[in-house]
Every structure is written in structure tokens, then in C-alpha cells.
């Protein structure tokens, strides 16, 4: 009897439990090794020394993306992971469906662009600034402005029901895009803002660290992600985090128990927006050029897909999701290059583009449906949220 229960418990131990059972030094050591690995990811020498079979000629490596620069892909993954972490606060913790999350990214990117570019109209036409500001100074401003826009958007809308909130936030992102596209006054419409500033720093030999090479940007974004993870973890385990979970599970009950729901929902919105703005400012620091075309709705949906595929309410899930939505299509493309996946097929005289990058939204759309049906808690779920969903499923479903 007793042995049986013990056995059963052992069998139930999954990877996470085993990790938790390790002594603390071992856990920290494992984490450090893992983080060092992450920093090494974009260097090709790293893969070659791992002893992977490298076919000569095609240059194909198992994890490496040949279709595009590996460090570039990783940097893109990085700022999407940041976005996913931000949306995870709004959607995963507080349970507010924000469909226009990329709008905050736009706010952050434009702030940095306007303040750091020598060609920004603030300098050339209005003389509000003497000279462009350094990138580092503008980042806190970008974060603050994104936070402010989150509060401004949240103030009127957070009193609405969940599904209305979704539509209103969608409208907000669209308004930002249209405003950026149409008005010439400051954002310069489709022509955009060129020569945006880069982050500071030089190598010992005097070359700028942050220039055209992607690798330093990846290291920067990785460092920022690690910092943000600590921040969010502490928030989630604090009074604020508990209030969010209470709101997500039952808003009325939370209000009755004395949680000021509106205030905490607004906080979730503001913090999510701030992380979105941070991501936007990092991106602008690399991209060098900002215009309205970058901020289409598809990006918002991609971030949403990242959070939900990974598992809403779980930091690991957001990271996994953000990584998957960017890396997978790129990787598939290089696999396609090596193994001869066709980029085009012809059916009845019509050419259809079937490359993974072109079809990725079809794939993610289908994945969203399948995940919602069979694993609504996501690939790397938050335990409490998974339990909530399971509880609901057990409630008597009305007979069809």
C-alpha cells in the first residue's frame, strides 16, 4: 500500500518537480550553464565544436538558420519574447484580452526614433531639441510614454466587458498605425524616420559595439529579458500578482474581498505596456529606420499566438511561445532550402506560394484552434491556470 503510493508519486514527478528537488547550488549552476549557452547561440563556432554533422557545401547546421542570419533571427526572437512577456502580464496574469499590444511597441519605437534621429522633425523643423539625444537616455522616456499610453487607453476601456475590451484595443492599435501613416506633422508618415540612434559602447579597438552586426543586439536583448523575468517573477509573487490572479479567476468575488480591481487592472495594463515599449525601443535601436509599415495587426496577433501557445500566465510559456513563433518559420525555411521543400506549387495554372514564411499565419491560425481545443492551458502551462480550466471542463456541460 505505502510502496504503491510512493511509486505513484515518483511516477508523477515531472521535469519541473525533479528540477525543484535538486539542491539549490545545483539549480543555480544549471541555470548559469543554460544562460551561458544562450549567450553562445549565435556564434557558428559553437555549433561546429559541438560535433554536429556539418554537410560541406550547404553549410547546414541542425539549429542554425541558413535562410537568414542566425543572430538576426535570435534578436527578433528576443524582442518578441519581451513582447510576449509583457502581454503575459496583461493576458496571463490579469486575464485581460489585449489585441492591440503591438501599439505599445510602436509608441516605444517612435519615441526613440524621434528623439535620437538627427533627421527627426523635432530637430529639423520645430527646433525643440538642440541635437539628437543618446539612445540610452531615450529608453526610459519610451518606457514612460508607453506606460502612459497604456493608462490612457486602460482608463476608459477597462470598465468594459472582456470581449469589448478586445475590440477596443484592436481599434487602438489600428488608430496608432493610421495616425503614424497619415500625419506628416511629426511622425513623417510612410517615409518614416531614418538614422535612428544605436545603443552606446565601443570595443577596445575603437569600433562601435552596436552597429550592423546582430550579435551584440542579441546579447543586449537577452540581458534585458533576464532582468525583466526577475521583475515579473517578483511582481507575480507579490500582493499585486495575487490580486491579478484573483481578478482573473472571478472579478466580482475579488472586488467583494476588497481587491481594488480597477486599480490593479490598470496596473497590469501599464506594466504590460511598459515592457512592450521597452521592446520597441530596443528594436528601434537596431532597426535604424522606423515607419508605419512595421506596425501591422499581424504582429499583435503573432504576439498573442506566442503567449497562448506557450501557456498564458507562465513566464516559461511566454518565452517558449515567443521563440517558437519567430524561430520556427525561419528554421523551416532553411530546412526547406537544404531538403528541397518547394517554395511554389502550381495547381490548375495558379501559382501558390507554399514557403513556410508565407504560410506561417495559416499554420499559427490552425495551431491556435487546435491548441484551444486540445490544450487550452498551452504548451508550458501555469499550474494554477491549468487547474482553473480543468475545473471548468468538469462542470456539467449542457447536453447538446
Amino acid at each position: 500500500m505505502t510502496t504503491e503510493t510512493v511509486k505513484k508519486q515518483r511516477w508523477k514527478l515531472n521535469l519541473r518537480d525533479r528540477f525543484q528537488d535538486l539542491p539549490k547550488p545545483a539549480r543555480i549552476a544549471a541555470m548559469v550553464v543554460f544562460v551561458v549557452l544562450l549567450y553562445l547561440l549565435p556564434t557558428k563556432a559553437f555549433y561546429e565544436n559541438l560535433g554536429f554533422p556539418i554537410p560541406i557545401g550547404s553549410g547546414y547546421l541542425p539549429f542554425y538558420t541558413t535562410g537568414s542570419d542566425m543572430a538576426g533571427v535570435l534578436f527578433q526572437c528576443g524582442y518578441y519574447i519581451l513582447l510576449a512577456l509583457g502581454l503575459n502580464v496583461v493576458l496571463g496574469y490579469a486575464g485581460l484580452l489585449d489585441l492591440g499590444f503591438f501599439g505599445f511597441f510602436a509608441v516605444g519605437a517612435y519615441t526613440v526614433a524621434l528623439l535620437t534621429s538627427p533627421e527627426s522633425k523635432l530637430i529639423t523643423e520645430y527646433n525643440w531639441l538642440e541635437s539628437p539625444w543618446p539612445w540610452l537616455v531615450t529608453v526610459p522616456i519610451a518606457i514612460a510614454l508607453a506606460m502612459l499610453s497604456g493608462v490612457l487607453l486602460g482608463w476608459p476601456t477597462l470598465r468594459l466587458r472582456g470581449d469589448y475590451l478586445a475590440i477596443v484595443t484592436l481599434g487602438f492599435a489600428e488608430i496608432i498605425r493610421i495616425v503614424a501613416k497619415n500625419q506628416d506633422w511629426i511622425l513623417n508618415g510612410d517615409r518614416g524616420i531614418p538614422s535612428v540612434g544605436h545603443p552606446p559602447g565601443t570595443w577596445p579597438d575603437g569600433e562601435a559595439i552596436f552597429d550592423l552586426e546582430f550579435t551584440p543586439y542579441y546579447w543586449l536583448v537577452l540581458t534585458v529579458i533576464i532582468a525583466v523575468i526577475f521583475l515579473i517573477r517578483n511582481l507575480a509573487n507579490s500582493r499585486v500578482g495575487r490580486a491579478w490572479v484573483a481578478i482573473r479567476e472571478d472579478e466580482d468575488a475579488a472586488e467583494l474581498m476588497g481587491v481594488p480591481t480597477f486599480k490593479f487592472k490598470l496596473w497590469a495594463f501599464a506594466i504590460g505596456a511598459a515592457i512592450g515599449g521597452l521592446s520597441g525601443s530596443l528594436w528601434a535601436g537596431q532597426a535604424n529606420f522606423v515607419n508605419s509599415n512595421t506596425f501591422s495587426l499581424e504582429n499583435s496577433i503573432l504576439v498573442l499566438a506566442a503567449v497562448l501557445l506557450g501557456g498564458a500566465g507562465s513566464i516559461g510559456g511566454a518565452i517558449l511561445g515567443g521563440f517558437i513563433v519567430i524561430y520556427l518559420p525561419e528554421w523551416l525555411r532553411s530546412v526547406g532550402d537544404v531538403f528541397g521543400w518547394p517554395t511554389q506549387v502550381e495547381i490548375a495554372g495558379i501559382h501558390i506560394d507554399v514557403s513556410p514564411t508565407s504560410l506561417r499565419f495559416v499554420i499559427f491560425g490552425a495551431l491556435l484552434i487546435v491548441v484551444m481545443i486540445y490544450r487550452p492551458q498551452g504548451l508550458w502551462p501555469n499550474r494554477r491556470r491549468a487547474a482553473e480550466l480543468k475545473d471548468r471542463q468538469k462542470e456539467v456541460a449542457p447536453v447538446e
Binding site: 476608459p156 469589448y164 475590440i167 489600428e174 488608430i175 506560394d353 504560410l359 499565419f361 487550452p376 462542470e395
Partner: protein, 316 residues
């Protein structure tokens, strides 16, 4: 702000606004029907509409009319429109039912929370739009001009074009047909019963699954009708036309009171007019912003819309 344009162009702006509003109203009815019964924003409805525009385009193509052909005579044009109305609405209705069966029905069986429904809907919407995008190489496709481009009549500064009149009349007719269907027929009674209280309706012997499928079919049929008129007005279509129309039609539904059939008509026409006047006032670049601002302001002050929500309680 350009008040001169508004005052001088007032009659023209009104007629274009009403014609555009009729299209919004037809699509809005689809949102309202589904919302009334399931309390769910059918995000994929915009793509159902988009499929309708392509169905119309292909129908005309098969009958020998593409964007390069010359304008047919009136009799042929009417025949073409009639055929495309039938084909497009059936096609859209079919797509809507497939979406329901694939993306929503499994979730209903699992008693999923509303958020999960919404996300599944977004997924369905993306699959539909991007499939069409891949199939049409993401290119804009021209649509033949069918009805004569000259004004039908003009009196005292009011000019009415055949297409505008036809859009408005057909939309009204379809709307009254739907109203009759929902309030008078056996199926309509089933819809209202499920909208009021799904479980009790099921206990009283209403087949809930069939009612829901029917509601999706109805919404799809209306979207198909709207799609035909939209394509003729716009002169082209693309795989992503659904998004904006869908957002605006949804705004229209909320404006009139989502779940309320007459509200959808009122909201659609109103939104069309506001947009048309607003475009004259602020410049046509800002048309799309106006719709969202109207929606935002309205939700702040009257979240249940002008006529109030509920498909079950209202007689229609």
C-alpha cells in the same frame, strides 16, 4: 475641419453614406445574430464576408465577365447580379457553417471559457484570410463594372446612382425578411428561445446545435449579399478586405446594441453616415479612425448601444 465641403456635398455624402451603411448593416447582422445566441464575437465573420467577395468575382469570371470586359446591358447585369447573389451568399453561408463546426463546436462540448472561444475565432480568421492570400498571391483583383455609372435621377442637388439605390433597397428587403423569419417562423422561435436561455430551450425540445448552425448560416448568407454589393462598389477585392469591414460592422452592431437585429440596421446606417460626413470634414485619410473613435466614445457612455442588447427579449 472643412465645413464647406460638408455643406456643399451634403446630399452626395448622405447617399454614399447610406449605401455604405447598408453594407455595414448586412455584415453587422451576422455579428449580432451569433452574439445574441452564443454571447460570442464571431471574429471570423469578416473572413466569411471576404470569401463572399471572391465568390462573386469568380461567378462573374465563369460567366465571362472580368475587370476588362465592357459594361453589359441592364438585363444581363441584373441577371449577373442575381446569380452572384445566390452563389456568394451560399458560399459564405457554407464557410460560416464550416467555421462553426471546426472552431466552435468542439469548444462548446468542452464548456470552454469565453476567452478560449475568442482566440479560436481569431485563429479561424487567420487561417481563412491567409489561405485566400496564398491562393490569390496576395494580389488585388479587379471586379467588372456591371451597373451603369450614370446617375439614375437627380433632383434638387440629390443625385442617386443605380448601385446605391439597389444596395439600399436590397439591404432593407433582406433585413425585413430576416425580421420576419426570426419573429414569425418556427426556426425563428427556436433562435429566440436559445438566445433567451439556451439550457431551458434545450429542455423544451429545441435542438440547440441545429439552431446555432442555422444562426451561422443566416449570418453567412447576409455577409454574402453584402459582399456582392461591396465588390461592385469597390471595384476590386483582396484577401484582407474583411478586416476593416468586419471591424466597422462590429462597431455598427455595438452602436445599435449588439444582439439586437434592428439595432444592427440602425447602427450600420448611422456609422455609414457618420463616416461619410466625417471624411468630408477631416479628409478621407481619417475615415477609418472616425469609426473607432465613435465606437470608443459610445462604449464609454452607453455600453449597451442605442437600442439596447438582447435578441431574446426584443420582439425581433
Amino acid at each position: 475641419m472643412n465645413f464647406d465641403d460638408l455643406i456643399q456635398g451634403f446630399p452626395d455624402l448622405t447617399t454614399t453614406g447610406l449605401a455604405q451603411g447598408s453594407i455595414y448593416a448586412l455584415v453587422a447582422l451576422g455579428y449580432t445574430l451569433v452574439y445574441g445566441v452564443l454571447r460570442l464575437i464571431n471574429f471570423a465573420h469578416s473572413e466569411v464576408f471576404m470569401f463572399g467577395t471572391f465568390a462573386a468575382l469568380w461567378t462573374w469570371g465563369l460567366m465571362g465577365y472580368d475587370s476588362n470586359s465592357t459594361r453589359p446591358d441592364l438585363g444581363t447585369a441584373l441577371l449577373l447580379i442575381l446569380v452572384s447573389l445566390v452563389v456568394a451568399s451560399l458560399f459564405s453561408g457554407g464557410v460560416a457553417m464550416v467555421v462553426e463546426a471546426v472552431a466552435y463546436r468542439p469548444l462548446r462540448k468542452r464548456n470552454a471559457p469565453p476567452l478560449v472561444f475568442l482566440i479560436s475565432a481569431i485563429g479561424a480568421s487567420f487561417v481563412l484570410a491567409e489561405l485566400m492570400g496564398a491562393f490569390t498571391e496576395r494580389r488585388q483583383q479587379g471586379i467588372p463594372g456591371l451597373l451603369p455609372g450614370e446617375p439614375l435621377f437627380s433632383a434638387g442637388g440629390w443625385t442617386v446612382y443605380p448601385l446605391q439605390l439597389m444596395t439600399f433597397v436590397v439591404a432593407l428587403a433582406v433585413m425585413f425578411g430576416l425580421d420576419w423569419f426570426v419573429s414569425k417562423t418556427r426556426f425563428g422561435r427556436g433562435i429566440r428561445a436559445v438566445a433567451q436561455d439556451a439550457d431551458t430551450a434545450a429542455l423544451m425540445g429545441v435542438n440547440k446545435g441545429r439552431v446555432i448552425a442555422l444562426v451561422f448560416l443566416l449570418g453567412g448568407l447576409l455577409a454574402g449579399v453584402a459582399a456582392v454589393f461591396y465588390s461592385m462598389k469597390q471595384g476590386n477585392t483582396r484577401f484582407n478586405v474583411g478586416f476593416l469591414i468586419g471591424l466597422k460592422a462590429f462597431s455598427a452592431a455595438v452602436l445599435g446594441g449588439i444582439g439586437n437585429l434592428r439595432g444592427a440596421l440602425l447602427g450600420g446606417l448611422l456609422l455609414g453616415l457618420v463616416e461619410s460626413y466625417g471624411a468630408a470634414l477631416f479628409g478621407s485619410n481619417w475615415t477609418n479612425v472616425i469609426a473607432f473613435v465613435v465606437l470608443l466614445v459610445l462604449l464609454m457612455f452607453r455600453p449597451t448601444g442605442l437600442l439596447g442588447e438582447s435578441l431574446g427579449r426584443a420582439r425581433a
